[in-house]
């Protein structure tokens, strides 16, 4: 198992490096000279050259990349063009807010998705199964940013129950909960659909195996059969939960934009508007790193739950 863990860890390194190359390349994908964005329009050619040298843009791309990577490894993500603040500070604050949102929507989606998926599998073909399938299809089809707007229309504009925008200004648990409720629900829709589907099909796969028939034949209580099924479906379910949590963190951009939730997605949105490439790069690099490490953690956890995986 340790050998597998080591190999898996090594595989994550080229992926991370590749991701960093993509993020580095973003500066050069951007239309126009990257230096033009930071220079006043009336600067002379000599000034532009000097700034280029100062930023290292006169060096070959490979050298630029290595220098950049070296700085990133030390936690220096550069300075925001718009605010002149260190990108790492903005990203840190935003990441905390995004993590909270991702956690709360994951909790909601995990609990509902697990319950719905398992119920549907054990009641296959009945009304409850059909309902779960319908919820799953809606969940994976709905544009979550639109769902967010619909939630605002219903609960903020019409009913005036919950705030439509931002995080709470005043301290306290209740205002915080009131602000996070709607974005949580909007963000939970997609994972709810995906989890319900995967859990249902994973549980059905196990239910159709002969050992379940044998368990039932020997008169085991339904509750104990249920436990056997869940235990055997666990690795597959764990994978989908882990992946979905990662998607929540990286995929919350649109929901955060709808609700002005001050997370990484909101920061990204601002950066896009202001064409603030260092912030764009910083946010995406941090989120991608998180995502890769999370996938790694899920894979390793899977081998703990099901040691057979490591042997393949």
């Amino acid at each position: 198992m340790w050998a597998y863990a080591g190999r898996r860890l090594l595989l994550a390194i080229p992926t991370l490096l590749g991701a960093s190359i993509i993020v580095f390349a973003m500066v050069h994908l951007a239309p126009g000279d990257p230096i033009a964005a930071v220079m006043p329009a009336e600067s002379s050619q000599a000034e532009i050259e000097a700034t280029k040298r100062a930023y290292g843009f006169d060096k070959p791309l490979a050298v630029q990349y290595l220098v950049w990577l070296g700085r990133v490894a030390q936690g220096d993500l550069g300075k925001s063009i718009a605010t002149r603040r260190a990108v790492i500070l903005d990203v840190r604050d935003a990441l905390a807010n995004s993590l909270v949102l991702a956690l709360s929507s994951s909790l909601l989606a995990f609990a509902l998705g697990l319950a719905l998926g398992l119920l549907a599998a054990f009641r296959q073909g009945r009304a409850l199964d059909k309902l779960a399938s319908a919820i799953a299809v809606v969940g994976v089809s709905v544009p979550h940013y639109w769902a967010g707007i619909i939630l605002i229309i219903i609960f903020s504009v019409q009913l005036n129950w919950l705030p439509a925008m931002g995080a709470a200004d005043d301290p306290g648990v209740l205002p915080y909960l009131r602000h996070i409720t709607l974005p949580t629900v909007a963000l939970a829709l997609i994972p709810l659909g995906v989890i319900t589907r995967v859990v249902r099909s994973a549980a059905l796969d196990i239910l159709n195996q002969e050992f379940v028939l044998a368990l039932r034949a020997k008169g085991l209580a339904a509750r104990r059969v249920f436990a056997h099924v869940v235990k055997n479906a666990a690795p597959q379910i764990l994978t989908v939960l882990g992946l979905q949590f990662g998607f929540q963190l990286g995929g919350s951009v649109l929901v955060e934009a709808v609700f002005s939730w001050p997370g990484t997605g909101y920061l990204l949105n601002l950066a896009i508007f202001q064409r603030d490439i260092p912030v764009l790069q910083g946010v995406i690099l941090v989120l991608a790193t998180f995502f890769v490490l999370l996938n790694l953690a899920v894979d390793l956890l899977q081998t703990v739950v099901d040691p057979r995986i490591a042997r393949h």
Binding site: T15, W146, V292
Partner: protein, 296 residues
């Protein structure tokens, strides 16, 4: 209880005429109401998008300041008007055109390039495989939404940039499916038999391999269409896709967002269109997958 016996000639007919694969698929689809309805809805949506220039009652970009945010059912404006007084029905029809182009093109590009790369990697194997597949792995370091936004954010707004960034999302996904399908089929005996009988690489890939991997890849690609719709509309929702004043569902949703306090129904319409279209594609691809007996 009556015992029924089939006459020998009936039995023979049943045994000698098994349904062909595609007839079986059609037979299953005909008995799947959800898929049929989804298919009919899609035909309607695609037709209305194609025929938008003839169906739209007004110029989608012609507004009137006096008629802003007219409610659904207003005289002469069946679905109301938007925040600039432009006819919603006309804009939804034209918008569907744009959204479908922005969403379907990347999936088609992903299907073509992804199948090419995936079959190459799967069939040739060795270093080529490692090179192609490890490169594709890099793109899996990003959730789809983030990758699309990262590339679009760097490239800037506009339809061509949306097509580029979404294609980059879908190519690696198709490559993975195509590669694993190719590796699986390549190890089957009939490929070995074809090779033993002297068939060249080209003939094997063209006649024996593609015929058996295209089905699963196509079904996979069809499952990606709904994601592509949500992403394409999402990019314009963020201001990264199609640029104003063009009509596009995501962009319409974005510009109408500010108006929910005035009119709660009209701003919800573009999103409803995205939702219905993406759900119809999902149901159709689910039905196809079941009917073709392909396990995702």
């Amino acid at each position: 209880m009556a015992i029924t016996t089939a006459r020998p000639d009936e039995l023979a007919a049943r045994v000698t005429a098994p349904m062909s694969y595609w007839r079986t698929v059609a037979w299953r689809l005909a008995r799947d109401p959800a898929t049929l309805v989804a298919g009919a809805v899609l035909v309607l949506i695609v037709l209305s998008a194609v025929l938008a220039p003839w169906l739209a009652p007004y110029d989608p970009n012609a507004g009137s300041i006096r008629l802003r945010l007219a409610p659904v059912g207003a005289p002469a404006h069946l679905l109301g008007t938007d925040e600039q007084g432009r006819d919603m029905l006309s804009r939804l029809l034209w918008g569907g055109r744009m959204t479908l182009v922005a969403a379907l093109t990347p999936v088609v590009i992903g299907f073509v390039l992804g199948t090419g790369l995936g079959v190459l990697a799967g069939y040739v194997g060795g270093l080529t495989n490692t090179l192609v597949m490890r490169t594709m792995d890099i793109f899996y370091a990003f959730p789809a939404v983030l990758l699309a936004i990262a590339i679009s954010g760097a490239l800037g707004p506009g339809l061509p940039n949306t097509l580029i960034s979404l294609s980059i999302v879908f190519v690696p996904r198709v490559v993975r499916v195509a590669e694993s399908a190719t590796v699986q089929v390549k190890s089957l005996e009939y490929i070995a038999a074809a090779r033993a009988s002297g068939a060249g690489v080209r003939a094997i890939v063209r006649h024996h391999l593609l015929a058996n991997v295209l089905g699963p890849i196509l079904v996979f690609a069809s499952t990606q269409v709904s994601l592509s719709i949500i992403l394409a509309a999402g990019l314009s929702f963020l201001g990264l896709g199609v640029t104003p004043p063009a009509a596009e569902w995501g962009l319409m949703l974005n510009t109408l967002r500010q108006s929910i306090y005035v009119n709660a129904v009209v701003p919800a319409l573009p999103g409803l269109a995205i939702f219905v279209t993406s759900m119809a594609f999902n149901l159709l691809s689910d039905g196809l997958r079941d009917a073709m007996e392909i396990r995702a």
